[in-house]
Amino acid sequence: MQTEKKEPILSIHNLNVWYGDNQILNSLSFEVQPRQVTALIGPANCGKSTLVRCFNRLNDFTPNFRFNGEILFKGRDMYAKKTEVTAIRKKIGMVFRKPEPFQCSIYENVAYGARISGIRQSSQLDTIVQKSLQRSGLWNEVEPILHGNPNQLSIGQQQRLCIARALAVEPEILIFDEPCGELDPIETVKIETLVRDLITDCTLIFVTNKRRQAARVSDVAGFLYCSELIEFGTTEKIFTNPQDTRTEQYVTGILG
């Protein structure tokens, strides 16, 4: 764990989010340090996904979305008027609960991000594709079928393909929104090991509603409950010595 870096990569100040009249998030403030896995835990419908979708401005597409507060990415306001949204999204990648490969070959899936960034040379694309697939541990499995349909892969492989796709644009932050929600235990272990490996390259935010998974994977954890951030601290502290009674109840399994 590297705690010597003082500059947070992402800092959230007093964030409130509404969908219409429903308040989804209520004055959250915390900071994400680089090169760490930050887990966000909490029961369903407590606003975890909404929170991480604020980080790459995916909520812009949600009708009735309103917010106030501040999200700083490397010290710059992410919601400032002159911010380029596509540039932000290239820096902050995301992997969803359900893998959704595009309807093209495995190679094209991984190369997609590089292509839209304007890389045309096939040698360069080949390198990027190979590197990303090796990084996500899928290269050996898909090398012979690189130009085949991604639908022939198992769902766990598809999820790792989505991770490779996200890695291909070299994001600084990678958000995992319940990446193991649809996977079996063996694939889950693979993803968890992968997540631990990836902190050498980027900062990770890991959303899950499985307490033990969060304990295994993360360095820092935040507990969300009923649209509030109850507690935020190192994983060790959250799971062994929680300050709030609700956190204690949640991690011990009494609540939620």
Binding site: L58, T86, Q103, N151
Partner: protein
């Protein structure tokens, strides 16, 4: 997706459709022979010419339908893209247009024909112009000779208006449904890689929705064709032999509509067959 079928089921359905199509086609041939025997194919069916068989009707219908329908379908598709991709769901413009489109698609096509006759033609004073006799041509023995094509312009515009009214709402609706079938997760996974809206539409939405859009366009045109059978009412005052010309034209329109709707249903199936997506497997 509620229309998911296994391959044997699909083959059975396609086979049944083929058989139905052949039966209807055979029936059409019998009707055609009957009409020919009774001389119905020789009667005047077009206001533009004294001497005609079915060919002038066919040509005039194609001349009317193809350009207008294509334009209207293209316009409808463009409208649907604008509504679905650029306007937010809460925008009052979108809600207003969508309610109007739903209203227009729910109107039975019969009423459009009535509208055409009662409103447009009475106010446009077209009936006066229809009566103008056109020069008599020499009768060819086959009855299928191409006669010089003449078109009453005022009537052309009135018919065109009705066609556009019929085609555009259906095209908008079917295209919107096709666009909605491209799920939000697919779009979002492209957006999180840093794609902008144009890239998402060009690379993700259009390739996935294209077969459905094409099928929707065919459906819109077939609906217009089927309803156009009613427009023959407009030609009646000019028919010297009265409504005997109707079956001829009517069958033509129905045949065209049937063909187009069959094509559209095949297009929809081919989409299901070619993309057994992850969605299909896990839902």
């Amino acid at each position: 997706m509620n229309a998911l079928m296994t391959r044997p089921e699909l083959r059975k359905k396609i086979a049944l459709q083929g058989i139905a199509f052949i039966i209807v086609g055979a029936a059409l041939i019998f009707i055609w022979n009957d009409l020919k025997k009774s001389g119905a194919t020789h009667i005047q069916t077009s206001s533009a010419s004294r001497v005609s068989g079915i060919l002038p009707s066919l040509l005039s219908d194609l001349n009317l339908i193809l350009p207008i329908s294509l334009l209207a379908v293209l316009f409808g598709v463009a409208c649907a893209f604008y509504l679905e991709e650029w306007l937010s769901a809460t925008s009052w413009v979108r809600r207003f247009i969508e309610s109007q489109v739903t209203f227009l698609t729910e109107i039975p096509s019969l009423l459009y024909g009535l509208l055409a006759i009662s409103v447009l033609f009475s106010y446009a004073g077209v009936f006066k112009e229809i009566g103008t006799p056109s020069p008599v041509q020499d009768v060819n023995e086959s009855g299928l000779a191409v006669v010089p094509f003449q078109r009453n312009t005022t009537m052309f515009y009135a018919e065109a208006l009705i066609f556009i009214l019929m085609v555009i709402p259906v095209a908008i609706k079917t295209t919107q449904e096709a666009l909605r079938s491209v799920t939000t997760p697919i779009r979002e996974s492209a957006y999180v890689l840093g794609a902008n809206q144009w890239q998402v539409i060009a690379k993700q939405v259009v390739p996935l929705a294209f077969p459905s859009i094409l099928a929707g366009g065919c459906r819109a045109m077939s609906r217009a064709l089927a309803a156009a059978a009613l427009l023959i009412g407009i030609h009646i005052p000019d028919h010297t032999t009265g409504p005997r010309g109707i079956p001829d034209r009517f069958m033509l329109f129905l045949g065209g509509a049937l063909l187009l709707s069959t094509i559209s249903s095949f297009l929809k199936k081919s989409r299901l067959e070619t993309s057994p997506t992850a969605t299909a497997r896990h839902d």
